[in-house]
Symmetry: C2
Subunit: 484 residues, 2 copies
């Protein structure tokens, strides 16, 4: 099966489209120590090249140049040597090359950048640099981009930046971040695919990613890994995130809902069933998922995730039942599970007195995450859902989302229970806030009260073009935000 | 004419032969900060590659590795960051690469090295390095190497190291040094070609270099540049060395003497005549070359070079006349010049009282260089020559040669006047001294009393495999050193 799935993934490998970005920078005569800053005018993913030539006299020794590729203007002031985060420093995009003789120089590494900073460390005499070119790569085809008229100027900007974010993450797979990680994660995939149906509409890329995960090695409990590698070779990931395994099911259901491609749905249906079955195996005597090990939900430090995880399970069951119905398949067993799960959640996770999802499972933790996922899981509906959501979001002491991944589901939860204005306001606050910070693409993490927050203990490591942050276009285009 | 010469140079471009050197280094499991030293077992010129793989877990971030390529063991202790020489620091062979994902890694720059030192600067987890390979390149064909039996073990070692030095300098052209400069200089060419006739015997490479210089742009006085660039494109050099222009004539005469290729000789004869004519134009009222500007001779600080330059001119005339005679051409004019030049040198440059070339032209400077070149130029002969040479070499206050380039002509001068034992002893002292210092190839500069001497004010910049140092094989094989 693995080989068959990998073959199908290969068949769906999209062509990579290349665009040469030629910044308006004149020929530079540079001596040792000279620095040049190139603004590409937008955020791109790809390869950098330039022409190295001599001025009055031939360059008779190697020219040594150090480059830094920066996703945002703010990073220009960063000193990489002070990096102290938890992830490997080599993700920071700097490079030193030695070039002997004139000619075209093409750096071999792929970068994600709006700015290119270069410093001539060593040169035997004046070096002339010119013909700067950033060859941008993406599998997003402009000919496929679904047009959308947006009246509100600010919403139009948010849509444009969302579309750009998704474009730059669309490569051989839906990458999470083209600067860092550069790999296919299920959680990102689900939101990229979803936004893609309203924007770049690259169905082959979704199929490819679904097949890649279908080929992955599961853990002993039967879950899929959170990510796979596929660039140089196919390698299964070694982090297993149970909520992400469920997001695989959601991605398949979304795909089928949008494409009606019954063949793919049928072929991958066993994988989806396996994920639901593996999750069901975790249920305790109350019919609830009692553990939060191997779940993601969000990057908030200290987040208690059991309630949210239960909500994700119910949300997934709900989507899955709809997909089975659409395919004319039997749903009874799953409907029974969903009803039982909702009842159990209401009974044990919801605090009727407090009108909040504050419970023993989550050590009385009070978070937007719990409420949003319980609403998305259909545990509360209507006014009750609206009331719970409104209050947890307004409470200064509740735990709030840190990543646009969770911001997305908060918006989705609001929309699902009719808080449309609140949803739109929330989108304007979060994604609009990034626009106010000069975003060409949306960031991996955004906490309005703590814009320097990093899951990796150093802002420099954050990915400033991150897949899971591209979803405003989904809301804008599906729900007509800014179009009335 | 330029295009025609360049075309001929192209036609004589030799094939580059590649040999994979696979050092006996096992698979290395390396973590951040780990260092590995690879001994290639000999000095080679070429490209380095290895396989990067993961250990227990896939490498999910770029692995950053810093390399240093070192020509000799002694350089292992060098700290490149303290470099303070006059030439561009980028010649020092270090490199940092960032590699994302497993696979073969091939550094793009060519290196000259016996040792490869690598340090893992950053890695997300254990990295496995293996399959280390140095792909050595040369245009010296082992099938063409002229065999030579040498009885004396030490002389045999000197011969082997000479042959290796020349091999590693033989690339697309006769390079001066494969680590630094990496270009075709006339002075080096002459000695490489000469030694080549007794060793690698690559006649096409000599022709190629002769045609490249024939295509070069001359200065206002009519001299050839000391070097040309031809790797990425043909570019004439901007340093004009008059003695090197004369060495072009010598190289052509040697070539003709060894090959009897009258077509090439005839085609390039006008270039040789131009060089002699340009030199003749410099003669003063005494019939001597009064200036030392734009001459090389040797790297000794403060060297007065007028006498030596006169000797080089006379030596060149002598070789040229022999070549003309061999070709059946008229020599009368050049013989007249030679006789007049020798007489003028004897009269104005030789101090009959001191039995030394101490004169006003050279500010009473006393050097081996003057004496050796005067002897080679035929100004003194027989016992007179032997006496003068012996005394200047024995005098502790005389200026001695600093480079094997000049060491070569000192040996040649001794041989030319019958000081065969002294010549052999001198070779053993100079080149044997380098052997005692662990040479796999002979060095650019070697002063027995000051082995750290650098023409560039920092030993780290010295080229430890330098073309002009390869000539012991010429002496050994032509004169039978160590074979009796």
């Amino acid at each position: 099966m693995k080989e068959k799935f990998l073959l199908k993934a290969d068949h769906n490998l999209p062509p990579i489209l290349r665009t040469e970005i030629r910044p308006d920078v004149s020929r530079q005569v540079m001596k040792k120590g000279d620095r040049l800053l190139i603004d590409l005018g937008n955020h791109y993913v790809g390869y950098f090249s330039f022409k190295l030539w001599w001025d009055d006299v031939y360059l008779d020794a190697p020219v040594r140049i150090t480059f830094r590729f920066l996703e945002t203007e703010r990073e220009l002031a960063d000193d990489f040597s002070t990096y102290s985060g938890t992830l490997c420093r080599s993700w920071l995009q700097d490079e030193t090359v030695n070039v002997l003789g004139p000619g075209e120089v093409r750096l071999s590494r792929r970068y994600a950048a709006r700015f290119v900073e270069l410093t001539v460390d060593e040169t035997p005499r004046n070096a002339v640099l010119s013909d700067f070119c950033f060859t941008a790569e993406t599998s997003a085809d402009p000919a496929s981009l679904i047009p959308c008229e947006i009246r509100d100027a600010r919403v139009a900007v948010i849509d444009r930046v969302s579309v750009n974010t998704l474009k730059n993450c669309m490569q051989r797979v839906f990458e999470d971040g083209p600067k860092r990680d550069r790999r296919l994660w299920i959680g990102d995939l689900r939101l990229e695919a979803l936004t893609g149906y309203y924007t770049w509409n690259n169905l082959a890329l979704v199929r490819r990613c679904l097949y890649l995960f279908a080929a992955a090695d599961r853990n002993a409990a039967g879950f899929l890994p959170g990510y796979v590698f596929e660039d140089k070779m196919f390698v299964s990931g070694y982090w297993f995130l149970r909520d992400y395994s469920l997001m695989y099911v959601c991605t398949l259901c979304d795909y089928y809902a949008h494409t009606e491609d019954i063949d793919t749905f049928t072929e991958l249906l066993p994988v989806a069933k396996d994920m639901l079955s593996a999750t069901k195996n975790l249920l305790d005597e109350n019919g609830l998922l009692p553990e939060q090990r191997e779940t993601f939900v969000d990057w908030c430090p200290g987040l208690e995730k059991r309630t949210a995880f239960n909500g994700i399970y119910l949300y997934t069951l709900d989507l899955f039942i709809a997909a089975l119905k659409k395919a004319g398949l039997d749903t009874e067993d799953y409907e029974t599970q969903l009803a039982a799960g909702r009842a159990a959640a209401r009974k044990h996770l919801y605090n009727e007195e407090l009108h909040a999802f504050v419970n023993a499972y989550d050590k009385e933790h009070y978070s937007v995450h719990s409420a949003a996922w319980m609403v998305l899981g259909g545990v509360l509906t209507g006014e009750e859902a609206r009331d719970v959501l409104r209050r947890v979001m307004a409470d200064p002491d509740s735990v709030k989302p840190f990543t646009p991944y969770m911001h997305h589901y908060a918006v989705d939860a609001m929309l699902s229970c009719g808080l449309r204005k609140e949803a739109e306001d929330y989108m304007m606050k979060i994604w609009g806030g990034m626009i106010d910070r000069g975003a060409d693409t949306f960031f991996e993490a955004y906490v309005p009260e703590d814009p320097d927050f990093s899951p990796y203990n150093d802002r420099m490591m954050n990915s400033m073009c991150h897949a899971w942050s591209c979803t405003p276009s989904y809301f804008i285009r599906k729900y007509g935000f800014g179009q009335n």
